[in-house]
Structures are given as C-alpha cells and as structure tokens.
Symmetry: C2
Subunit: 341 residues, 2 copies
C-alpha cells in the first residue's frame, strides 16, 4: 500500500484511447490531488500531446520501468497489457487500477464499484479491478434494491452503444449510416453485421453455453460485486446504433414485497443514482442525455402487474465514464480515503 | 358469414399507407383468390394509382356505401376509422379484418394470429381483430413453449423500428441522422426526443400504472390470444433507430422444466417460425434480414443459468408484414378455409 501524501504521482496506461482521455479529464474535473502525471501508451502513440489541467503532456512509451516512483497506475489498454504490466506496477510500489477484464474474476482481486462495495477494497490495495461497463450501471441500481428487498432474479436486456468498441466502431457506425442514407452498400469491419439502423444480439465472443462473454460478465461480476452468487441473472447483450452511453431494461424479482413509490425513493436517495422518472412530461433517461455525466440514470420504474416482488426499470449511463474512466478515478479516490485523505 | 366462391371481392381501407400497400402485395404473393379489388382511402388520396397484379388500381374515397357487394374488408387506417366503418362493412355483408387497436380487446371480437389461435375465429366471422405488431411476433414464439411447458412469466424488452409510426417517422430518422452526421441540430416532430442514434423507452402514451399503452397491449393481447390471463408479462417497449422490423429479447419462465435442444426443436417445427441460431457462424436473427419476409425469426436460444424452467431468446420479424399486413391476409385465408376453400 502507498503512503499518504499531499499529491500522488499518477500513471495512465492507454492514455491516448477514449477511456484514457476521459481518465485525464475526470482526474481534472474531480480535483484529484495529482502530482506528476505520466501518460503511457504503445510506441506508435509516443510523442502525441494530451491536454491535462491546462498544460500539454507528452505521451511516453509503456515500459517495465514506467512505474518507478509512481503511486497509482490506471490501466486502460486491454487485457494482455494489464495482465503483463499491472503486476510490474505493483512491484514498483503502485496501486494498479485496471479497466480490463484481465483480473476481475481472480479470487484475491477486489472488483469495485465505489457506491456498491467499497469495503471489498481490503487492506492491501495492489491490483484493483474495474468492472465491465454494462455491469457497473446495473449494479449501482441493483444494490439499494438488494439491500432492502433481497434480489433473487434479474432479467436484463442491454442497448449498448458502439463507443465501447473503440473509435473505429464509431467511425464504422458513421460511415455505414452515411452509405445507407445515400443508398450505397455498407462495409463491415468491426462488427460481423451491419450496425447502422440495425440491432446485433452479439457482444464479445460466444461461450459454450450459448451466452456471450459480455453476458457472462454481467452474471459473474454481479455475483462478485454484490457478494451473492445465488442471484439468478438472465442477460441479453445487444449492440445498438447509438454512439455513446448504454441503456438497459431491467426486471428484478425480490424476496420481499416492494412498493413502487418506495422503490423510487430508494433509488433517488442512493449514491450515484439520478432518478429521471416523469413520464407525464416525457422525462426518462436517454443515452444522448447521459453523455458526459458520471451518474447512473434510472427511470420508467414500475411494479409487476400481478405481484409486488417484481419491479421493472430503465438504466442509462455513459459507458466511457461511469462504465470505465469515472469509476476508475472513484476507485482511486477510495484508495486515498483509505489512506486518510 | 360470407358464402364460398371462386374469387372474393376485397376492399382495402387505408390502401395508400405502408401497411395498405403491403396488404396488396401480400394478397398477390400468396395468390389470394381476389375478384374485384377496391382500394379505399381518405379524400386526399383519391385518384392515386396503386399497383396490383400487374395492373394499376385507382384509389377511391372511403364512404358508407364502399362495402356494398364486397366480401372481405381489410382495415388499416387507424382506430377511429375502424371504429366507425368496420360495423358498416359488416352490415354490408363483409367480413372485416381490422389492423387497428379499436376492436382487439372487445369480448366478442376474435383476436387472431393464425398459427397461434385459429380456433378462436368462431363461426360468425364479422369483425376480426389483428393484434399489435410487437405482440404477434412474441406470441408466435410463446405458443409452442406454452403448449409444451406452460408459460408462467414473460420478461420482454423490445427494439422496435420506426416504420410502425408511419412514413413520416422514417423520414424523421433519416433527416435527424443526416443532420447529426453533419454536425447539425435535429428537429423533432413525430417523437418527443431525438430518435437518431438514441433509444426511447416510450411507445404510445403512458398509462396510470406507469406502463405505456404499447406495453399494456403486449400484456392484454397475449392473455387473450393464448387464452390464459394468469401469464405474468413484464414488458419494456423501446423505440430504436432502425427503419423496419422489430427485435425482442424474451425471457420465459415455465411450469415444466425445459431442455435447450428440445426447445430449439420445438421452435423449428412450429408454424411461422424460422430458427436462425448458429452463433458459431455469427448467425442469429437481425432486423435488416427480416425485412420483406413473413416469418418470425427466433435465435439466441439459451437456458437459464441456474434453473431449467427459464429460457432466453431473441425474436425478430417485419412489423409491417407478420406484424400487420401478412397476418391480416393470413386471417382472410383462415376465413376462406372455414368456408371450405
């Protein structure tokens, strides 16, 4: 564990990526006590300049000695980089906060959503994993329901934006959309099928059991974060032609009976949740409204039609922020709190 | 009830609309025994010419005497027109097959999906209602599951295309998409929020209980069609930026245990269903593939992760065809079958 200081030296691995850039912006916006900031990336990005707190920072190559003297390393450069370099960062004395799936399900690695399971952080603070985007926004909403009514089953259908697949996916959606609007044929590169004006029930690879890896992440990570592997999660992960922010239709069955107004109160008084639920004014969470915000937006809250232990709702969040960069910086803040900052 | 004949005189009300045009095309494609064909619409469409079986048909104004001498009237011009004119058509001796929601939940009006509940047609054949698009494709998939395992709960999230809101909605999606791709602001006319590159958890008006009318149609029509109002349906109806064909993520809980391979066999041997479920080859139903086809496409079939009475799947169908025109023509065929044709 690192020592308490006034400012912390931060390494951002994968700094030039969409999540990396948002980590820099979030550190700034949340007034994180940053001392030195080291922007690391692969050799092809070396020399790029990234803005941070009014100055420009030169991107350096990620190397084994990149973490010497640093306090916190935030990883967002894919699983294989995290697998290789997070232990090196820890050996150099860093706390490594990892956005990839490399360490999430390892038994001794805490998987943290700060509003949900801060106490799972433990004492050591070596590698800390950041959950998958689609899991984070769901568990922020499930946690207060689980605490109060005990969640037994979750049925979730996702409406996931393309930004999670990277900048090339955003370009693919733009390019295909333009071509279709102009009556031309589309080119497929990132996704196996046309994503423009279409919905793909396929995110990440298929597993033996017929579920996708993305769907199984929502199952397994939810169990680990909520500390209850008896919760039955039935996920369908779907890519939709939206640039940024994920939406999710969630149905929850609980042990105890619920009252809709009470559930709305529970949501609106829970950390990290913003309740947007005024259907009479056409107000409900929308992907385009969530962009750039750190909250998880919940709305369309309604009870089961025949029983009082079912609740249905709609959850929207910026997958690059709360689903990645913002949650990672919140984890770093949690580490500082542990140090007494 | 009309008499058996070699050919039947058909009136299509709302002939110039998207569904009306597809009714004409479907009558042709399915070799329906059409005698005279009368294309009816409001006064502003009078004189338009519509193609049918290689000739052009002039659109005439819908009037009280429009149904004299006709055998079957297919309505697709909205609820108020159906409410007013379907009884007039019946009085004129027609069988009235109605695509609107005007008559669906009336106690004595049969609500028919030919593959699902043909016997509900009854003997009289006066007004026959066509269910809502999102209900039809779901019940086609639910029926064989219900027959074999008894459906107890249904959790469904829809991914509904804009074509169901009419031609102006298609233009709105195109126009907004172009503007966003060109960095311009969008204009909202048909939908209360931006539909391009966004998902709206809002179809039709909101009811007192927090559900939308579209969602309650999926509940009430499913009960009526499957003849079992004890089935608990939890729907979330969502408009997505897709031009045509609806997708649905469906989770079903049954009384009896299920086996995934058996369920796939049940689907593929059921009328009206085309099973597309080869994830290893990235094959699953897609909205863009379903367009122009009359089948309901089912895929992504997978069992509950912790219990054998849950099944999850993905259902796609052309909402203007099986969800409207095609189902209406199938109902007309059912009427003819009843006559002995």
């Amino acid at each position: 564990m690192i020592d308490k200081k006034e400012n912390y030296d931060i390494a951002v691995v994968g700094a030039t990526g969409a999540v990396g850039r948002r980590i820099l912006a979030t550190l700034d916006e949340r007034n994180f006590p940053v001392g030195r900031l080291s922007a690391l990336a692969s050799v092809r990005s070396v020399g790029q300049m990234l803005p941070f707190r009014g100055r420009m920072i030169e991107v350096k190559e990620l190397r084994e000695n990149s973490f010497v003297g640093m306090d916190i390393a935030l990883f967002s450069a894919g699983s294989s980089i995290s697998k290789q370099y997070a232990p090196i960062a820890v050996k150099s004395g860093c706390v490594a906060i990892d956005n990839s799936s490399a360490w999430r399900m390892e038994k001794d690695i805490p998987l943290i959503v700060p509003e949900v399971n801060p106490s799972a952080l433990g004492e050591k603070c070596e590698i800390i994993a950041n959950p998958n985007c689609s899991t984070i926004q769901m568990v922020v909403a499930l946690k207060p329901i689980h605490d109060r009514y005990r969640v037994r089953k979750v049925f979730v259908s996702t409406y996931q934006s393309v930004s999670g697949s990277g900048q090339k996916a955003i370009e693919e959606l733009k390019h295909q959309s333009r071509n279709i609007l102009n009556g031309k044929s589309v080119q497929k590169d990132i996704y196996p099928h046309q994503i423009a004006f279409n919905c793909l029930p396929h995110i990440d690879v298929f597993m033996e059991n017929g579920y996708t890896k993305e769907e199984m992440k929502m199952v397994n990570e939810t169990h680990k974060i909520l500390g209850d592997s008896t919760i039955e999660v039935s996920p369908t992960a779907v890519r939709v032609p939206v640039f940024n922010s994920h939406s999710e239709a969630v149905s929850v069955e609980t042990e105890l009976p619920m009252n809709v107004d009470e559930v709305k109160d529970v949501f609106s008084s829970s950390p990290g949740i913003s309740l947007v639920d005024n259907p009479e004014n056409n107000e409900y969470p929308l992907a385009v409204d969530a962009c750039g915000k750190g909250d998880v937006f919940v709305g369309r809250v309604r009870g089961g039609l025949k029983r009082d232990n079912i609740i249905n709702f709609w959850v929207v969040s910026d997958n690059l922020l709360k689903g990645a960069a913002y949650n990672a910086v919140q984890i770093a803040e949690l580490v500082l709190k542990r140090l007494g900052n």
